[in-house]
């Protein structure tokens, strides 16, 4: 006869006792489900809100930085930045540089231009360069490569002249992958007047990709340059840019009589010292990432990851998480103590049965296993029912807590959601406290239910320790003779 058959027979035979145990499991199980559910909902709300906020890190120059000028050329800073961008926690980063150019063998897109002043130069385009094989806009779908490909790390390393153009630009000019585009600087014609034939730098790019600029679709009247933006490896046009900067400098010297002997800082060196804007894979890594690097870049820079805003909005959730943790610990400890006492009493009440089983040679470990399984089955049945009722109660209870928190916290509500925004571009997404609380969703998921069952397993296991000692010291002779 198998142990499971014995377990089932024993439970059926002790219906009333086990029904009472079932009720206890059910009642305490409700608290456990509510506690775990609220705890999980708070944690998930924090994570979701973090995700809404985008796990972005922006470097900001310290206001009272010891050196306002010259830090761009600090090799140590460049080295640190190069080290930071290799961190595996980074999903993507933008280290953008750009140059206004004029396309020579094609026409710029000029549809939907509301303000003609924006389009200052005929066939003016903007080359945007990054030094990774992706960028934020590719990652979030703002730029969607529909034909061809994005540039590779090798092409970046070799400063190859490859470019991606918008599909509007491609359609207008009937361009395809492999076609070549020629560019000159946007002040080319002006400089030519002074330098005549001595100055005529032209740069030629091969088209490797065509992308949809989805930002344009969403905002039809956005600026003209969005249709004429092109993507290329950052360093592919820095030397070209230096030609124009040098020419500008010479022209200034000629016109104003400057005699500046100092050498011009190369665009590439300036670019190397540029600070990236970083997006991490996991929002949970933000604090540790900043902690790992912030010391290294002080006193010049700090790292802003919108934490102040998040912490203010997320504070009620932290308090809920803290208290639900405390309640959860109290429930688990109480369950263990209570079930230890109950199982102890059960074992005491069953000592005659234990004596008989021992007298026919059943091992003590098997008897312990039988009692453990009986309690565990009842525990699982009780918690199964508690999962339903606890979910309903927890939902109501969780919403009440959130409502209270909202009322109390409205006093601290930030009026300006953009308060912590930075740079020209809103890399940080908007977040309000309502968003944070909307993310609080009491829901007993399958994985949460499994972890609750696992927790019951552990509670029953721990609760069986002391009663097991009682079984271990049982003497069948004493038990049976006591009855005799």
């Amino acid at each position: 006869m198998g142990i499971l058959q014995r377990v089932v027979s024993s439970i059926i035979n002790k219906k009333i006792k086990y029904f009472l145990l079932f009720i206890i499991f059910f009642l305490l199980g409700n608290f456990l489900v509510i506690g775990i559910g609220i705890n999980d909902a708070s944690k998930m709300a924090v994570i979701k809100s973090r995700e809404m906020l985008n796990p972005i890190i922006i470097f900001e120059q310290v206001d009272d930085s010891p050196e306002d000028y010259g830090i761009y050329y600090d090799d140590a800073i460049v080295e640190i930045i190069n080290e930071i961008v290799l961190d595996e926690r980074i999903l993507v980063y933008n280290k953008i540089t750009g140059m206004n150019m004029v396309v020579q063998n094609a026409d710029a897109v000029d549809i939907n231009v509301v303000d003609e002043n924006i389009k200052q130069i005929e066939n003016g385009v903007y080359i945007s360069g990054n030094n990774t094989d992706s960028m934020f806009e590719i990652d979030d779908g703002s730029y969607e490569v529909v034909e061809g490909r994005f540039y590779t790390l090798d092409e970046i390393k070799n400063s190859e002249k490859v470019v991606l153009i918008t599909n509007q630009f491609a359609d207008l000019n009937n361009l395809k992958i492999g076609d070549k585009l020629q560019f000159k600087g946007d002040n080319h014609d002006e400089l030519l007047k002074y330098f005549e034939d001595d100055f005529d730098p032209i740069i030629e790019y091969e088209i490797i990709g065509i992308f949809n600029n989805n930002q344009i679709i969403e905002n039809e009247n956005e600026d003209y340059i969005n249709y004429n933006v092109m993507l290329a490896p950052a360093k592919s046009f820095l030397d070209f840019e230096d030609n124009y900067r040098n020419a500008d400098l010479q022209l200034a010297s000629f016109i104003y009589g400057w005699k500046d002997e100092s050498s011009m800082v190369k665009s590439e060196d300036m670019y190397d010292a540029e600070l990236p804007i970083i997006k991490l894979k996991d929002p949970d890594d933000l604090a540790s990432f900043v902690e790992d690097y912030e010391e290294m870049i002080l006193p010049y820079y700090t790292m802003n990851y919108n934490n102040e805003l998040f912490e203010n909005y997320g504070k009620p959730l932290d308090i809920i998480t803290y208290f639900s943790n405390l309640i959860l610990i109290a429930i688990v400890v109480n369950m263990i103590l209570m079930f230890t006492a109950i199982i102890f009493l059960y074992v005491k009440m069953r000592d005659n049965e234990i004596g008989i089983l021992l007298s026919i040679g059943i091992k003590k470990i098997e008897i312990m296993t039988q009692i453990f399984l009986e309690i565990l089955i009842i525990g699982f049945l009780g918690i199964s029912l508690a999962l339903f009722s606890g979910s309903l109660l927890g939902n109501k209870f969780g919403n009440e807590i959130i409502n209270i928190s909202v009322v109390q916290n409205n006093i601290n509500e930030y009026e300006d959601g953009d308060m912590f925004y930075n740079h020209d571009k809103d890399y940080f997404s908007e977040l309000t406290q309502a968003d944070v609380f909307n993310n609080f969703d009491f829901n007993i998921t399958k994985s949460l239910a499994i972890s609750i069952y696992f927790m019951i397993f552990i509670i029953v296991l721990i609760s069986c320790v002391i009663p097991s000692i009682l079984i271990m010291i049982q003497d069948p002779n004493k038990i049976l003779n006591r009855k005799e």
């Binding site: 006869m1 058959q5 089983l357 026919i360």
Partner: protein, 223 residues
């Protein structure tokens, strides 16, 4: 052939300040296929003796051998599981199991593999007058005599050679007592089992092959 050998076993316990000797350098050899009864005054140590030879309690002084192997060598739990079966005055059946389940439990615990356990169990119970419908009932719903027959069937089910019983008819009426005694006699005679029964009843002891009286901590053969 000797199945159980008791060698210089002494058992005593402290009783209010002085040592009370129950078994005093007791030695005896039990033969295979015999029906023994042990009689004696109340408190003479009959039940203690049975507990020791049943391996329910460890011997502190002296040795007990089952087929030339000491119980220490065999292991007390193994000995109880594989080599002996116990029948008690209060039947000591697992009350939440049916009669057939009690039998199956004993069968499943012995190392001697028994095939078609349920079939054998029903057959055994039938032999002791417990039909199939009663076999499937909870043992608490059976009469005292029926429960004791189930207990004996359980003892037999594990296919052991030595069956020990402590006042097995103590709770039974006269006619059932006679019935149970005849079962024990047959077990020794037909199945070559060794039966050792502790009893107060002269009706039981009169039917045994050998009567042993426990006097002053020693076993004395009366018959």
């Amino acid at each position: 052939m000797v199945i159980l050998k008791i060698e210089n076993v002494t058992y005593s316990y402290k009783d209010g300040g002085y040592q009370r000797v129950i078994l005093n350098d007791l030695s005896y050899e039990f033969q295979e296929g015999k029906f023994y009864t042990i009689i004696g005054e109340s408190g003479s140590g009959k039940t203690t003796f049975l507990s020791l030879i049943a391996g329910l309690e460890k011997v502190k002084s002296g040795k007990i051998y089952f087929k030339d192997k000491s119980l220490d060598q065999i292991g007390y739990s193994n000995y109880r599981r594989n080599d002996i079966a116990l029948v008690f005055q209060h039947y000591n059946l697992i009350n939440y199991l049916s009669a057939i389940q009690n039998i199956s439990l004993a069968m499943s615990k012995t190392k001697k593999k028994i095939k078609k356990q349920k079939y054998v169990g029903y057959a055994l119970l039938k032999k002791f007058g417990i039909g199939k419908s009663k076999s499937d009932r909870s043992v608490t719903k059976l009469s005292g005599g029926e429960q004791q027959r189930v207990a004996i069937a359980r003892a037999l089910a594990s296919n052991v050679e030595l069956i020990l019983a402590d006042e097995p008819t103590g709770n039974l009426d006269k006619s059932t007592e006679i019935e149970i005694i005849s079962i024990f006699k047959n077990l020794a005679l037909e199945y070559n089992k060794t039966i050792i029964v502790v009893t107060h009843s002269s009706d039981v002891s009169d039917q045994s092959d050998i009567i042993l009286r426990l006097v002053d901590g020693k076993l004395v053969e009366m018959k």
